[in-house]
């Protein structure tokens, strides 16, 4: 039985005993969607969620510290970078969760290797081939009626959606994808050998997805003209498409601010905030906000002590955002322990990134996270029951 056949058959299985994800598939308004936002290059968590009340912060960052008066204050201890002010409304509505201190043991400081660890949810010394979302969706395949299980908007590889049996596609915008997919044609006569069969299977996957994703929805919400704004619009259109997808990945970068960080970082965070706010507004408009979780991730944070070039070097743990109508807003994880840095001057992690993933697998999708992650990680309480 090939994958396609399997998917078709699985759509016929009665809902009893199936996961929330698969069960949700029958009715598009019941579907639970995850939109991942990759912050590429290693975002500076400390200047994103600012621990302004910790005297060590200003001491480590004589030039880069965000002045207390400029911080968008959230609690007595911390606040947001001023560029993130547009997110304050979501915070006030208790729809923005901030998870501080996400990382992993034995951190690897190479961009390439560390994002591979994040994408595959491996241990630091382990090499896995499939992305964690691909594995998750394998445990709970979507109904065949879905346009695709996962969509990557933009380039940079399939990341968490890389895998053999997941139905995942990469595109820049839905219309453009439909246009390009004319290069790939629909399924044809029986393949002569296994290799050709595989190629034709992928080809028809692309063609079918393109067919189903045709017809971009118009939103009253205006999206920013930035590249990230366009990616956010593509994500909103995919989310609103009746054929549906289970997971979408968009990305923003590069946050690799080794030198002259201030201006670059402020611009990137502004793009992020404006894009996320537009996405929220469009999904509210489409009545999908309760069914959507948006989560940021990235290979690592940056070193607490600023460097000599007005920048910061590769670090370890960082803060990430989760937004959604069903999200339990507020602070999660633990604030950065600036007084207990490791030998490289980096932060210890408070939350394993696989526990972060387990929250989406278990609490959002009702997928057995141990089967996907290989071990049991205690999920965070990121969603309202």
């Amino acid at each position: 039985m090939d994958r396609r056949e399997f998917l078709r058959l699985s759509a016929l299985i009665p809902a009893a005993g199936m996961t929330g994800l698969a069960r949700a598939g029958a009715d598009p308004t019941e579907r639970r969607l995850l939109i991942l936002v990759e912050l590429k290059g290693g975002n500076d968590g400390l200047n994103t969620v600012v621990p302004f009340a910790d005297p060590a912060y200003a001491r480590l960052r004589p030039r880069l510290a965000i002045a207390r008066g400029d911080v968008v204050q959230l609690t007595e201890q911390c606040g947001l970078h001023p560029s993130l002010a547009p997110l304050k409304a979501a915070w006030d509505a208790r729809e923005l969760a901030i998870v501080q201190g996400i990382g992993y043991p034995e951190p690897n400081l190479s961009h390439f290797r560390s994002i591979e660890i994040w994408d595959t949810a491996s241990r630091s010394d382990q090499y896995l081939e499939e992305g964690w979302l691909a594995r998750g969706l394998e445990h709970a395949p979507c109904p065949a009626s879905y346009a695709a299980e996962g969509v990557v908007v933009g380039a940079g590889g399939m990341g968490p959606l890389a895998g053999r049996s997941v139905r995942a596609i990469a595109l820049s915008t839905p219309e453009r994808f439909a246009r390009e997919a004319r290069l790939a044609r629909a399924e044809r006569a029986r393949a002569r050998n296994a290799s050709l069969a595989h190629i034709l299977r992928v080809e028809s996957q692309v063609a079918e997805s393109a067919e189903r994703l045709r017809g971009a929805r118009e939103f009253r919400t205006e999206f920013p003209a930035s590249a990230f704004g366009r990616a956010a619009l593509a994500a909103a259109q995919l989310a609103a498409n009746p054929a549906g997808v289970a997971a979408i990945r968009i990305s923003l970068g590069s946050f690799d601010t080794h030198a002259n960080q201030q201006g670059v970082h402020a611009n990137l965070l502004r793009e992020l905030a404006e894009g996320l706010v537009a996405l929220r507004s469009a999904l509210v408009e489409a009545n999908l906000w309760q069914r959507t979780a948006i989560a940021t991730y990235g290979e690592f944070g940056r070193r607490p002590r600023e460097n000599q070039s007005g920048g910061t070097d590769h670090g370890t743990s960082s803060a990430h955002f989760v937004l959604g109508g069903a999200v339990r807003g507020g602070l999660h994880g633990a604030s950065p322990a600036l007084d207990r840095l490791d030998g490289n001057g980096n932060l210890a992690h408070a939350v394993d990134f696989r526990a972060y993933y387990a929250s989406f697998l278990e609490r959002w999708w009702s997928i057995d996270s141990r089967a996907v992650l290989g071990e049991r990680f205690q999920p965070l309480d990121l969603f309202r029951a």
Partner: protein, 487 residues
């Protein structure tokens, strides 16, 4: 009577294989043994019989590259980790990145220009077998030196190659043996040499790995010259037992123990099957090749000869059964259609985008290959490459996915793999990656005919093509067909 029957059998087999290859078989041999082929090369080989054609490939095999390597390969080794000044370190990293890209482009140039494509095919085979990545080694000089070694023994002797690779500085760095020492042996190389280079997984025990690791202690690298250096003080000279052999074994003796096992020849023979014949090795035939290999004391040419002359290699059912690797798509397209861009860095970047970053395999297992080459992104990427070469007029804009990636400014560019500045380079530098239909048709001679279909595709097209045979429009249809992804 016996002699007569034997003679009859010989004559019968000659009958099958002594005939001229013809166009289709010549194309099959050259495509699998190299990277695509021009019409002229195919016609030349079409007149030879199987044995003559195979012998010509084997005898013509080079041991050195025909194109001059970039000048920096002779420069002294520079190590970014040593630099304290961050500006200097940054500048050096940028230089190493640029050199790494030049090195990839040089190899692609060699694949395109060499009179011995089989040498490059086998060099790439060994690069994938003894997978080593610039991402960790961080020295284009050491990567180049390893490439020279792989080429020297590409069709030489596997035992010689194994011993040399085990002392190759890039490998010593990549699998951490350079820092392995008595009392603290690093097991990385010892494990991989058994699992991935010789016996195959499950054909040795954990104890063998631990003991072998001790034998390789002291095999190190001189930091200044980047040359192999034996450090007697670090070597564990004690008694060891590896696969039942006991003694004060050193690394070379351990390698000889691995070479003495029949699994090793089988492992290599089966891997060659998957590279050259089909995705599903036939056990009995692989065993036959393995015996040839062992009898020839690991000389590669007798093994390759047995393989290229096997019925399996020529079997109709195995034609078009292999998924082209990205290098096959990119280099094969440029070779077959005689497109010679001035700058080959975009070709190297394209290969990386499609999943095959030369000098940068994903890990020590090498590229998984086969079906894994194709997902929706890489399939569309392949189509876009072909579309660009065959449709886009010079200087046309980039396909959409690439544009998006350029905007994204991928942080992974730092590692030399995929990324923003590489994508920009590709956008700027691909103007002359363009098929000139009229010119190419002229090179085919007066009557380009149905043989073009056979030249371009390894197997019949999947779609019914409407364009008339022998036209440039027909060629565009052929390269857009799913069958173009097969070899």
């Amino acid at each position: 009577m016996k002699t007569f029957l034997a003679a009859l059998a010989v004559i019968a087999s000659l009958g099958a294989s002594a005939a001229p290859l013809g166009y289709g078989d010549a194309r099959h041999l050259l495509d699998r043994a190299g990277f695509g082929a021009t019409d002229r090369e195919v016609r030349e080989f079409a007149a030879l019989d199987r044995a003559a054609a195979v012998d010509r490939l084997l005898e013509g095999a080079r041991r050195t590259a025909a194109t001059r390597p970039p000048a920096f390969v002779d420069d002294p080794i520079e190590r970014p980790g040593r630099l304290k000044d961050r500006e200097a370190r940054k500048a050096l990293l940028a230089k190493l990145r640029a050199q790494g890209l030049q090195l990839r482009a040089w190899w692609i140039g060699e694949m395109l220009g060499t009179p011995s494509p089989l040498t490059e095919r086998m060099t790439l085979f060994w690069h994938n077998h003894f997978a080593t990545s610039q991402r960790k080694v961080r020295s284009p000089q050491l990567m180049y030196r390893q490439n020279v070694l792989l080429r020297r023994e590409a069709l030489g002797n596997f035992a010689t190659l194994l011993h040399a690779v085990a002392k190759d500085p890039a490998m010593l760095v990549y699998l951490d043996n350079a820092r392995s020492r008595r009392g603290a042996p690093n097991e990385n190389f010892a494990r991989e040499v058994m699992e991935l280079f010789t016996l195959g997984v499950g054909r040795y025990g954990e104890r063998d790995v631990k003991e072998a690791a001790r034998a390789f202690t002291g095999w190190s690298v001189d930091p200044a010259s980047g040359a192999y250096r034996y450090r007697p003080f670090f070597h564990d000279g004690g008694e060891k037992t590896v696969l039942g052999e006991h003694g004060a074994l050193d690394g070379d003796q351990v390698l000889d123990i691995l070479l003495a096992r029949p699994e090793t020849a089988r492992f290599i023979a089966a891997k060659l099957w998957r590279e050259f014949v089909s995705p599903t090795p036939d056990e009995a035939e692989v065993e036959r090749w393995a015996q040839v290999f062992r009898a020839a004391h690991y000389e590669m040419k007798p093994l390759l000869r047995a393989m290229f002359l096997s019925d399996a290699f020529w079997a109709a059912g195995n034609r078009g059964s292999l998924v082209k690797a990205p290098v096959d798509v990119v280099v094969g397209t440029l070779r077959t259609f005689e497109i010679r861009p001035a700058d080959l860095r975009p070709a190297a970047v394209t290969c990386a985008f499609l999943g095959q970053d030369l000098f940068g395999p994903p890990n020590v297992k090498g590229w998984p290959g086969g079906d894994a080459w194709i997902d929706s992104a890489t399939l569309l990427g392949r189509r876009q490459f072909v579309d660009r070469v065959f449709r886009a007029p010079a200087g046309a804009r980039m396909p959409a996915v690439r544009e998006a990636s350029m905007r994204v400014g991928d942080a992974r560019a730092e590692e030399g793999g995929r990324g923003g500045h590489l994508a920009r380079l590709m956008a700027r530098g691909m103007g002359d990656y363009s098929f000139d239909g009229a010119r190419w048709m002229r090179t085919l001679g007066a009557a380009p005919d149905a043989r073009i279909d056979r030249l371009v595709l390894a197997t019949a097209p999947v779609d019914a093509l409407t364009a008339r045979v022998g036209t440039a429009e027909r060629v565009r249809g052929l390269v857009a067909d799913a069958a173009y992804q097969l070899k």
